[in-house]
Symmetry: C2
Subunit: 240 residues, 2 copies
């Protein structure tokens, strides 16, 4: 059976303007692979309501799971919760369970739970909260969309809260062979290998080091014996 | 007048599996901002023809420019040229101008221009070549889609070849104020500032350092005097 699929939606002008280098995509990709969920697509959109709503609807329809990153803080440019609610026609307001979490947190810190911070307790009706052990303000899951913070430490903690609740498939195993020849030298061999092992994904990633050309050949699949077999055949054919 | 818009399409299983951390998005975002082109959306898709063709069509329709990264090498998993041709109904075959570039390059290196390498001379009819000063195999521009390599050094060189040929707008200027208070403290001030300076983009990016909460407030716009005015007002209101 095929593994469950996923998409990621990164929300934020700061990524698209080149100010901030996204760290969450790389992290989520690795965690999903370990969990046996196939990340099929990532989109990055700006803090624009129409763009967010459209992307949420399209990705939610097309994939088993959608993970969003960014736009759930207390400031005016944090519009993700509004957009998720709009995408699914859900009512959005401060919810008692989320408010209770914030009240407890701010009571401890001695800071005021002001109007801006209370924005972070706005959760769509029907959504489940996602725990945030770092800074307490929760994320949420509505239908198949998991809404999480953009700050990497919080994002990672929320991924750790959500992943165990999701059905995973077979973890994808991969082996890499580093070959100090140009891609063009080994392309024929790889193409034949890919035809023989059509159940595996065989990728070739070129690099240059000290003026010489090389390539990492990566064989991926859920059946470890098949991955082994492909790597053995590859090494033999390349006479390594 | 509004600046020209752009989207980026990153093609490659290696990004979505978490094996490779994408470097090209961050680079392109910065270069486009300097050139006055607004990067509005990024998509990452796997080495899947249907997914690539669909994304190319949607992004080409929606934005002034599309930049793709990855999938134009000599191996079986390099299917980007085929997909671009398919997306626009263009004929694809080895083209004499591209073949001449490869012949010259491989004559110098003493390597054979074999069948796999000749794949890199497959260019859709009607496309303009993009120069590749790093490893010679060209990219190409078909309509408003600029097709470039995934290897960062080659991608960057191709961006440098293409950007001067594109109409730019006003470069977006930005100023950042680092505030050692939580987002929730300053959210009200920022919201009022955003209403006053509705021609600017005002973003707030929280961080934690040594257990304390802080935020970078970034004001962006094409009019330097307005950006200055907003920053001055912000600093005064926050009593910095």
């Amino acid at each position: 059976m095929a593994n469950p699929t996923a998409a990621m939606l990164v929300i934020g002008d700061e990524i698209l303007s080149g100010r901030t280098r996204d760290a969450n995509m790389y992290y989520l990709a690795g965690e999903l692979t370990k969990h046996g969920i196939d990340l099929k697509e990532v989109r990055v959109v700006s803090d624009d309501a129409d763009a967010i709503v459209l992307a949420v609807r399209q990705l939610s329809d097309a994939y088993d799971n959608v993970f969003t990153s960014g736009g759930i803080g207390p400031t005016h440019d944090d519009i993700t919760a509004d957009c998720i609610a709009q995408a699914f026609g859900a009512h959005l307001d401060v919810r008692d369970d989320a408010r209770a979490i914030l009240e407890k947190h701010y009571a401890t810190t001695g800071l005021e739970l002001n109007e801006a911070r209370l924005r972070m307790a706005r959760i769509p009706d029907g959504a489940d909260l996602i725990e945030n052990p770092v800074s307490s303000a929760p994320g949420f899951t509505l239908r198949n969309v998991h809404v999480m913070a953009g700050v990497p430490s919080v994002f990672q903690a929320m991924v750790a809260s959500v992943l165990p609740t999701l059905s995973g498939g077979d973890p994808v195993l991969s082996q890499t062979l580093r070959v100090m020849r140009g891609e063009g030298e080994i392309a024929g061999t790889l193409s034949a290998l890919a035809a023989t092992f059509s159940d595996l994904s065989i990728g070739c990633y070129p690099f240059q080091k000290d003026g010489a050309f090389g390539a990492n050949v990566v064989v991926r699949g859920t059946d470890g014996a098949r991955v082994d077999a492909a790597m053995t055949q590859l090494a033999r054919e390349l006479e390594l």
